[in-house]
């Protein structure tokens, strides 16, 4: 494919939604106020596991509240995430459950004229629970003798299946012959690793507003990464035809995966609105949000075998995922963990064995990286251990074994694979090494004093979307509509959600690029499920590669139509016309090739087409990407460890990203720096700990007690260096791949490797809190 000369894409621009955001005029779901709107409050379980025997709402109703209990909700068992094909989708939940399976699970809800009245009413609801044995630990949950059983049966597709020993699902994936591989290894290393339960902590808590419409339909504004999947699920649960379910696209105050699905409060809000026949708004408190979703915590056992020269010959991974009370996407997650594991280095023989286990804790769901940061932490830690065992430089060992151009990449587990066509791994390793000063790095045992520094490296990647040459277990396509207005401006209508990373901006830039219009002549139209074709979800780093890929596909069609209309006016063959951006006129201009003076503007073309009743220049289409190119990253980090306090600080970092053409270079940088911040949180700070005697969260719903990083925890700012690999992805829109999730994936691993280089202590459990550091130092694990 051609490498185009880019004029708009790839340049720094002011983001279109910037003005609304800095003036506070951007509207988020919680900012939607409708006339006659009621406010909803949810009653949540104080018990980790209990049967709901009876609910008495009579007093709340006497106060004028509209109430909803598990006995009133549709009898539909659903999975809030519908990204996988139905036969691979597990279903285990209802809008409100007759059996609560974690503290904080919704039991009932009320709506009233004000939030205050709703609160008063909810406090009058009497629930009779029958407490059941509960289990908070995944290993205990699998024990034959344990009395806590979360489910007897669940659905897989349409089939009802038994749940044994709380095991939600298992997956085992092999390549080659791992035993034979290990037999041929000169050196083996193995270790356990543990990544914690982290909370998304998106700044906007989950919210929904639902307005019942006169025709019996509903209009919904809600925090979600996928308006179309929310629409389909609501249609199914409430038995409404889809044309009567309209979900509005609205700004999202961050998500990081927490809204990859239809949030549990959305159908609660809809059910209340349908009962009340009035609009209802439901905004969760921060504490409720913390009880809604967390990142998947994973325990790994990992073993590598290598030859003396450093070539990897075999690898074996076991992964145990504690999914909490619902199976949202554990099956595809296990496949993805296998894929992240299989695709970082070339293992000719490989075995993956994964298990996902129910516990009476907050349900886990995707969070930036979808198992990749966890897997990366295990793989990149063990790579450093292997490098030390072999006496090979960690960078060298990585260069010898990385998966690159021409190799197969598993973009979304074993069923979504494609061949890598662009790769900046070598460039990033060598440039990053120079940026951080890798040659200054010395062994931990050459360091002394109370404050020690260390340098670490880790490489990572993420997929760009979930498309492969053949459709796999994961649905992936997107749609777009583009129309040219009669003054030469352009409306772009896309169903794709933007989590804040700039997907809409990238889409507008691609339109401007292809149609040769100035960027400020492209408007991103408000949209909803009624006015757009399907888009699966803004997940899997697919916003730019797939969502904008569809925009490019449609923009090319519109370009063709423009040329055809212009040809009629200019009495030329469309093939003999050229299109150009004319900044002076502020329009695209079209002219017979070689005769630039004979131009007409795009506005003239569109206006003429309208006056002569030729029609509107517009196109709508869907598009599926048939690849899932990895966007690579490399993190180099220098840390400082204070031995007296156990505190770890990041003093410098070099972040390198390979996203093909960076369509929004500024925003790509922003993603990399933001990724470092969340990586630091993952490595050093955050964990949702449980009180074992109550099943409650220890942080009590406080973000500060949960230890979210503030501006002060970031490195002294000048010392974050950011670089892009110079690559072009032939299958991507204008050469682009994704970046979003990759930006995080190897950040924590690099920090942990740097801590080892500083102290000689290999941390295998995250987060490395000051307490854990002090304990390790006391135990004298250091050499």
């Amino acid at each position: 494919m051609e490498t185009r000369q880019l004029e708009v894409a790839g340049t720094r621009t002011r983001r279109k939604d910037g003005v609304a955001k800095v003036t506070g005029r951007e509207t988020f779901s919680s900012d939607v106020y409708l006339p006659g709107m009621m406010h909803a409050v949810v009653l949540r379980s104080p018990y980790p596991h209990a049967e709901v025997v009876d609910i008495d709402v009579s007093e709340a109703e006497r106060m004028g509240a509209v109430c909803l209990t598990p006995f009133d909700v549709p009898d539909i068992v659903y999975n809030e995430r519908t990204v996988s094909i139905p036969e691979k989708t597990y279903r285990d939940r209802t809008v409100l459950p007759k059996r609560v399976r974690h503290v904080g699970e919704a039991v009932a809800a009320v709506a009233h004229d004000t939030e205050e009245l709703a609160m008063q009413a909810v406090s009058k609801i009497k629930v009779q629970y029958k407490e059941l044995p509960y289990v908070l630990d995944a290993e205990e949950a699998m024990a034959e003798r344990h009395g806590a059983r979360l489910y007897d049966t669940v659905f897989l597709g349409e089939e009802s299946i038994q749940v044994k020993n709380n095991i939600a699902c298992e997956r085992s994936i092999a390549v080659g012959d791992v035993e034979d591989g290990f037999r041929r290894a000169d050196v083996t290393v193995e270790s356990e690793f543990e990544a914690q339960r982290m909370y998304h902590a998106q700044m906007e808590t989950k919210a929904a507003v639902c307005a019942p419409e006169p025709d019996g339909g509903i209009t919904v504004w809600t925090t979600t990464q996928t308006i179309h999947n929310v629409r389909q699920l609501l249609g199914q649960i409430f038995n409404l035809p889809l044309h009567k379910v309209n979900v509005k696209r609205i700004a999202l105050g961050g998500a990081f995966g927490s809204s990859i699905q239809m949030n549990s409060i959305t159908p609660i809000c809809v059910a209340l609105a349908l009962r009340a026949k009035r609009p209802v708004k439901l905004v969760t408190s921060r504490e409720e949000d913390m009880y809604d979703h967390v990142k998947y915590p994973v325990k790994f056992w990992l073993k590598f075998g290598a030859q003396k020269d450093g070539r990897l010959v075999a690898a074996h991974m076991k992964a145990l995922v504690d999914i909490g009370a619902h199976n949202i996407q554990a099956y595809p997650l296990l496949g993805c963990i296998a894929g992240w594991f299989a695709s970082l280095y070339k293992f000719p023989n490989l075995l993956f064995e994964g298990k996902a286990v129910y516990t009476n804790k907050v349900p886990a769901c995707a969070m930036q990286g979808y198992g990749n940061p966890q897997t990366n932490f295990a793989v990149e830690s063990l790579m450093d251990m292997l490098a030390e065992e072999l006496g090979i430089d960690p960078i060298q060992l990585r260069l010898m074994n990385y998966v690159g151009v021409g190799d197969e990449f598993w973009g979304q587990g074993p069923t979504v694979r494609s061949i890598i066509k662009s790769c900046g791994v070598e460039e990033m390793l060598s440039r990053g090494a120079a940026m951080i000063g890798w040659d200054r790095r010395v062994h931990p045992w050459q360091k002394s004093g109370d404050v020690v520094r260390g340098i670490g490296v880790a490489r990572g990647f993420h997929t760009s979307g979930t498309g492969g040459p053949r459709p796999g277990e994961v649905i992936d396509y997107s749609s777009a509509t583009i129309k040219v207005n009669e003054d030469g401006s352009v409306d772009l209508i896309t169903p794709v959600m933007d989590q804040g990373g700039g997907t809409w901006e990238a889409a507008a830039k691609v339109v401007a690029e292809v149609l040769k219009v100035p960027l400020d002549m492209v408007g991103i139209s408000p949209s909803d499920t009624r006015t757009t074709g399907y888009d699966v979800c803004t997940h899997a780093t697919r916003g730019v590669y797939c969502g904008v890929g569809a925009v490019l596909h449609v923009a090319e069609q519109v370009r063709q139509k423009i040329l055809e209309m212009a040809a009629r006016i200019l009495e030329q063959n469309p093939r003999d016309l050229s299109m150009e951006r004319n900044e002076e006129i502020g329009q695209a201009v079209i002219y017979p090739t070689g005769l630039p003076d004979k131009f007409i503007t795009l506005g003239e073309v569109a206006k003429t087409a309208q006056i002569k009743s030729w029609g509107t220049i517009a196109a709508t289409d869907s598009y599926r990407q048939k690849n899932c190119p990895p966007c690579f990253v490399t993190h180099f980090v220098e840390v400082e460890v204070e031995k007296k306090t156990g505190r770890v600080r990041i003093v410098r970092a070099a972040l390198l990203g390979d996203c093909g053409t960076p369509i929004n270079p500024d925003m790509v940088k922003g993603q990399l720096v933001g990724g470092l911040c969340r990586g630091l949180a993952f490595a050093l700070l955050e964990e949702t700990a449980y009180d074992k005697s109550t099943g409650r969260l220890v942080c009590g719903g406080y973000l500060t007690d949960y230890k979210l990083p503030t501006a002060c925890e970031m490195p002294a700012i000048d010392d974050i260096m950011v670089g892009f690999a110079n690559t072009y992805e032939p299958t991507g829109p204008l050469g682009a791949k994704g970046i979003g999730e990759a930006a995080l994936n190897s950040a924590a691993s690099a920090i942990v490797n740097a801590i080892y280089n500083a102290t000689g202590i290999r941390f295998k459990k995250l987060p490395v809190t000051p307490e854990r550091m002090l304990e390790a130092l006391r135990e004298g694990v250091a050499r």
Partner: protein, 157 residues
Amino acid sequence: MMEGYAIELTVNGRRVCAEVRADETLLEFLRTQLRIIDAKLGCGKGDCGTCTVLLDGRPVKSCIVLAASADGKDVKTLSGMQEEPLIKALQESFVTHGAVQCGFCTPGMILTAASYLREHENPSRDDIRRALSGNLCRCTGYKKIVDATEAVAKRNT
């Protein structure tokens, strides 16, 4: 029902008389009674700073201030300060520095930055980071927010 308090205050330059509950927070009052949505509810516990407003010129977390205690006072939110040069400069700087991702933290961040810059000349980056440390942002990693604030501080001095 709970007893109401009559309060009289200035909000974004407008005189407002209203009745509030004893336990009604300033944030709730601004959002639900006055429909001023640029002050956001990120936590309701004083942790995140998305609800920052100016009370008699000083930044407060309005989710932990009682509306009744604002009686007789002057309240300003970001949307009421669009004409102030320092606010304008920060807004412009946030956009050009890419300090905005999802934007949920942005109004509070800009108000806090403005209040700080108004009283401190020539702050170091570290000073700025400390000044902003009561406002959480999950998206940006703070770097560009500090960059944007610093750029305005430099122009100011």
